[in-house]
């Protein structure tokens, strides 16, 4: 990455242990005691919410929503409820995105960085309970998080209850209303919103849901202040971010970048592309494809990626090689996205299934006339008509694939399967066993 970021980074990943987790004693030795312990510090001038606002921190779970606005919304909503309805904070590390690994890495290696952020967020909104949501399959994260909680307990404990909620695997089970549903005793399936979680969330209490990485940034903002935070990144997208880089790359893994860092620099830092690239997927399976020819122009921040119809999402970057068949890859992932529908809303169930079927037919050269028109009609019928945004994200992924891989799709429509169709799949999906377990 650029020389400047070499000096300033890593932030979140500073002192990453080679294995295991940074314990509480070491964590405190590095960063000191948790600030904002007194009531006055929490509410007075320069209170935490104000710091977050000045820092311009945006959520790192995918939507890039301004965190200060979320904190204020929860605080305001709890002021409107009868006494006894104190807010709850959910730390979302459920990470249902198959190509993302940053949140489980944080919990596995730096659990106290996330927990401190959760405690600080709870102080900011007056919550008396923090629930950390972790996907059931993330064994290492669950183990080290459990250890971290008992460490804190032995050290005298925090002023609030901290619990762990394991989340069943599934692409939509980490969606906000699904987590609220799960933590309230229901299934991990999305519900109709509004009411939004900040209005009526877990056990009908105002609920702040924040991504695990977001909370880790909050810890550092409380320690170092907003000006320090803004020393990296772009004015609209300040700070650093974790990116999970996978696919045709020499060293796949989680990297910390400055927002706005050039994508070629990240690729170089990860040992370079392992082969010639066809395209890059940004933002995961609810995100968008960008042609490999555009890579030299790409800067990794939401404001700059918007010009290319893409966003960072939860920091997912997947490199697709020239050896892969983009049509076969799109067909495989689209079918998976259809099966990951929670099966509650008709337009999502039927729309995604129909689109997946048509793309499979295209991939096999079995599509009949009008396939393109049918797909675009179903795409518009599925968009915005589910209780959650799963169909919208899937349609975004599909639409951008049809656009970026237009040539390959046209070729398959005429000639059927290509030579590359037989090559090993490149885009990561949960294994069959995991899929069966989730079904």
């Amino acid at each position: 990455m650029s020389p400047r970021t070499d000096i300033a980074l890593p932030r979140l990943l500073a002192g990453m242990p080679a294995h295991g987790a940074v314990g509480l004693a070491e964590h405190r030795a590095r960063g000191g005691e948790l600030p904002y312990t007194t009531r006055r510090e929490r509410r007075g001038a320069g209170a935490l919410i104000e710091l977050v606002e000045q820092a311009g921190l945006r959520g790192r779970g995918g939507a890039a929503f301004p965190v200060a606005r979320k904190l204020r919304a929860v605080t305001a909503a709890s002021g409107r409820t009868p006494l006894g309805k104190r807010p709850i904070v959910l730390a979302n590390a459920s990470e249902g995105e198959p190509a993302s690994g940053k949140d489980r890495l944080l919990l596995e290696s730096l659990p106290h960085l996330v927990l401190d952020g959760g405690v600080l967020a709870a102080r900011a909104v007056g919550a008396d309970e923090l629930i950390v949501c972790v996907e059931a399959s993330a064994a290492g994260a669950l183990r080290n998080l459990t250890r971290a909680l008992s460490e804190r307990e032995r050290a005298g404990g925090d002023e609030l209850r901290i619990g762990i909620q394991t989340v069943p695997e599934g692409y939509v089970s980490g969606q906000e209303s699904a987590l609220v549903n799960l933590c309230s005793g229901g299934p991990a399936k999305p519900t109709l919103t509004p009411p939004m979680p900040f209005q009526r969330g877990v056990r009908r209490r105002p609920t702040l849901i924040s991504n695990a990485e977001t909370l880790a940034h909050l810890t550092l903002i409380a320690r170092h202040g907003p000006r320090w935070f803004r020393a990296l990144g772009t004015p609209a997208d300040p700070g650093s971010a974790l990116v999970t880089l996978s696919g045709a790359i020499a060293h796949p893994g989680v990297y910390e970048i400055e927002h706005g860092a050039p994508l070629p620099a990240l690729i170089e830092a990860a040992g370079g592309a392992s082969t010639a690239l066809r395209a890059v997927l940004l933002g995961g399976y609810g995100g968008a494809w960008v042609d490999a020819g555009t890579v030299p122009e790409l800067a990794l921040s939401n404001d700059q990626l918007a010009a290319h119809g893409a966003s960072l999402g939860a920091g997912v970057v997947v490199l697709l090689s020239e050896q892969a068949c983009p049509v076969a890859e799109t067909a495989r992932v689209t079918r998976w996205l259809a099966t990951e529908s929670s099966g509650q809303c008709g337009p999502c169930i039927h729309g995604l299934d129909a689109i997946a079927g048509e793309i499979e037919a295209l991939a096999h050269g079995a599509a009949t006339a009008g396939a393109g028109e049918r797909i675009s009609r179903w795409c518009s019928l599925a968009t915005g008509r589910g209780a959650c945004r799963h169909p919208d994200g899937a349609v975004r992924f599909i639409t951008s694939a049809l656009e970026v891989f237009a040539e390959e799709f046209a070729d398959h429509a005429r000639h059927g399967r290509c030579d590359a169709c037989a090559s090993a799949p490149e885009l990561p999906l949960p294994s069959r066993g995991q899929l069966a377990a989730a079904a």
Binding site: P190, L192, Q344, C345, G346, C348, H350, L381, A387
Partner: protein, 69 residues
């Protein structure tokens, strides 16, 4: 007032489109596509009737609030 559907509750019975064709058409799977513009006064009675006729109470008539997305 405007129409809203609870897509989780909706089971594509299609009564709403029969009772309020001015504002509701069905997609090819039978699920309603709503015209979400504010309801004019002359349609509010028909809209209420359509909502009451829904076997799963999935058709909602909502007052305009900031909550509407």
């Amino acid at each position: 007032m405007r129409l809203r559907v609870n897509p989780i509750a909706c089971e594509a019975h299609g009564m709403c489109a029969e009772l309020l064709p001015e504002r509701i058409v069905l997609d090819e799977w039978g699920y309603p596509i709503l015209d979400e513009r504010p309801l004019p006064a002359e349609l509010t009675t028909l809209a209420k009737r359509a909502a009451e006729a829904c076997p799963t109470f999935a058709l909602l008539i909502e007052r305009d609030t900031k909550l509407h997305r």
